[in-house]
Symmetry: C2
Subunit: 398 residues, 2 copies
């Protein structure tokens, strides 16, 4: 790491980042004010592709799922280093995304999650170009779709599984979150389903005795809530949204419950999933066995609402060490966290990956009161750390 | 019964009913075309009060809850005989209630349930008046509110519990349904609740381990579905509408289930209610015991959606025998049924009560395709039976 941060070209790039900071802030504003609700990232992707091109990347494209990306060409043939930030926000269409400023603070939905990172990456590209830095490996910068909620990591899933560049990627950063010391090296996997129970339905008094899908749902859900999950590896389950039924004097035809299961361990998550499916089968067998099925049986179906693989990047991996050292080099004490980010996808595929903050500070992410502080000193130390981590992985040509 | 139906004045009243039949049909149309959704019976009540006055009743009023009623004065001081039909329909505001005719058939929402009975009672009043019939006991004719669904029998509940005439009523007919042979002598009681479970809520992963109201709901509902109820007296229970929860990655703050419990036996219904409440307590204790309550406990509350008392009229009661004989006298074989009608209220208070059909035939009640056939021969035999049953209870002055 010392070789990297003491290199004259890197020092020069840091000066250029400082000189570019005001522009970087303006680009945060510009990009924040382009709405990008889940599945509606197209306009922001087009704008970002244009900015990647202006910053000097080659082969800038928008791929088949809507990710904007371009290549910072290196000199060698090593594996590509991917550096992503996500375009989408959690906010629905019609949300007012106008940025309000108070001193160095910016207020707007999406301003920190993850728009600052998009602008930080642009600034790093410009600084590296202007400082004449040529890395050994190609660096792929990506503004990707589909990180939040229902987006279900589809942008990075596509990048690795369908984009022709996917197989060339040997390490992966997603620049997400703000606080520089907080690095994510474990990806929480999650399986999310709407479990719908259906049956013939009828009148609550006249048809009493026939099977009731709400009985099966209750039996399943009570069993699900009784499951004991390990504390380590952290594994969780949740019953959330309930729905269905039309009238209090009707045996419902359809009821459902939304469930969420998560674990940092893929095996634990799969075991939980199997246990959940067995409970559904048991609940169906119980209800179809104890009540009258002459008008029809109770059935269940699963609609997948989310499927995020679990994964981890071992502390021995180069990207793990490089990230910790880069953060430490600029005065932060690294703390490795567990979370669900775009890094889940490469981690689950065995590609070493880290989620690193874009620097500065802020709060209230996922609310209309979201804000960041772009006060330059803290902001720049974070940006320097990101650049140093990238260059540590990409390698420096003398 | 032979004394009644062979009495010259009753014979004359039957001839007058026949002569009045066309007018009676016109009044079905007039009344059907005045909308009367639950809690919006006011206009129909006013119109019906005017028609009761025109038909010759005394002391016509609209009482404190909205029932229209008037007295057919008798000669003696015996207990009052009440004869009710309900004004309200199941159909919401805005439903097209225009009557369509095909021969003797009338099609419209509410035409049979219970508008025909309102018109039949008017025709009986006119015929008895014109035939010079003076009963021994006063007869109270009522067009009442609140029979259907959420109305929760509030019209007849008020009549017995708050209307000053209530304590004078010694027997009660509700003219409801069409088919003359079908008499209701057992009132199904029902308790209906929305059971809402509430807790602190939180993030499905970050706050995992805290209490979840959906867990408590599931435990309760699974236990409820496992309750074994007696076949005799018929007792039923039902889980119907489920709701609550805001997001799949949130531990919900609030979830609910709507439940319906019914029995023809008040003790069985109360026992079931107690069992249900114990299950809720048990589910709360389980969830608050096994999970973290540091952010708050799970609580439950009951919103009453319906409370209809159970009751029955014993076969030895005069009204039971009179109704059966009246029906039989006009060529029908009486069949006593179990149902939930306005007669539940007097039955539960120990006032002998019967629900009797208004005559004729029809179908598709509670749907937009509701229809009745007013073909005069069957229609009149039914009306004669209703009048005979009333007069058997009110007594005839010579």
């Amino acid at each position: 790491m010392n070789d990297i941060i003491s290199h004259p070209k890197v020092k020069h790039a840091q000066e250029l980042l400082r000189a570019d900071h005001d522009r970087m802030v303006e680009e945060i504003v510009t990009l924040t004010e382009i709405p990008a609700p889940p599945f509606m990232e197209e306009e922001k992707a087009k704008a970002y592709a244009e900015m990647l091109r202006e910053a000097g990347l080659e082969d800038v494209q928008i791929d088949g799922i809507g990710n904007a990306h371009g290549i910072y060409r290196g000199s060698g043939n090593g594996a590509m280093v991917a550096v992503a930030a996500h375009l989408d926000t959690v906010f629905p269409e019609g949300t007012d995304v106008t940025v309000r400023r108070e001193g160095t603070k910016l207020f707007a939905p999406g301003v920190g999650d993850d728009t600052r990172a998009l602008a930080v990456n642009l600034s790093i590209i410009r600084a590296m170009k202007a400082a004449g830095i040529t890395p050994q490996n190609d660096i792929l910068f990506v503004g990707n779709v589909g990180e939040e909620g229902v987006g279900d990591l589809r942008g990075i899933r596509y990048l690795f599984n369908e984009n022709p560049l996917g197989p060339q990627i040997g390490s992966f950063f997603t620049v997400d979150g703000l606080e520089t010391p907080e690095l994510v090296d474990r990806g929480v996997g999650s399986y999310r389903y709407r479990v719908t129970f259906e049956g013939p339905g009828g009148h609550s008094f006249g048809d009493f005795g026939i099977v009731n899908p709400a009985n099966a749902l209750a039996e399943f859900a009570a069993g699900f809530a009784r499951i004991e999950v390990p504390e380590e590896p952290k594994t969780t389950l949740n019953l959330s949204i309930l729905g269905g039924g039309t009238s209090i004097n009707a045996i419902p035809e359809k009821v459902y419950v939304d469930i969420d299961m998560r674990s940092v361990d893929p095996q634990a998550l799969d075991a939980l999933d199997a246990q959940m499916r067995a409970l559904v089968e048991g609940a169906l067998a119980l209800e179809n066995g104890r009540n009258d099925t002459s008008k029809g049986e109770i059935t269940a179906r699963f609609d997948v609402l989310g499927n995020r693989p679990a994964g981890r990047t071992a502390p021995e991996e180069a990207i793990h060490r490089a990230s910790a050292e880069a953060v430490r080099a600029f005065g932060f004490e690294p703390a490795f966290r567990v979370s669900s980010t775009d890094a889940n996808i490469p981690m689950s595929l065995g590609v070493p990956a880290i989620c690193i903050g874009s620097g500065g500070t802020g709060g209230r992410a996922h609310t209309l009161d979201e804000w960041i502080d772009t006060e330059p000193e803290l902001s720049l130390r974070g940006i320097y750390a990101v650049m140093a981590a990238i260059l540590a992985m990409a390698g420096l040509q003398d």
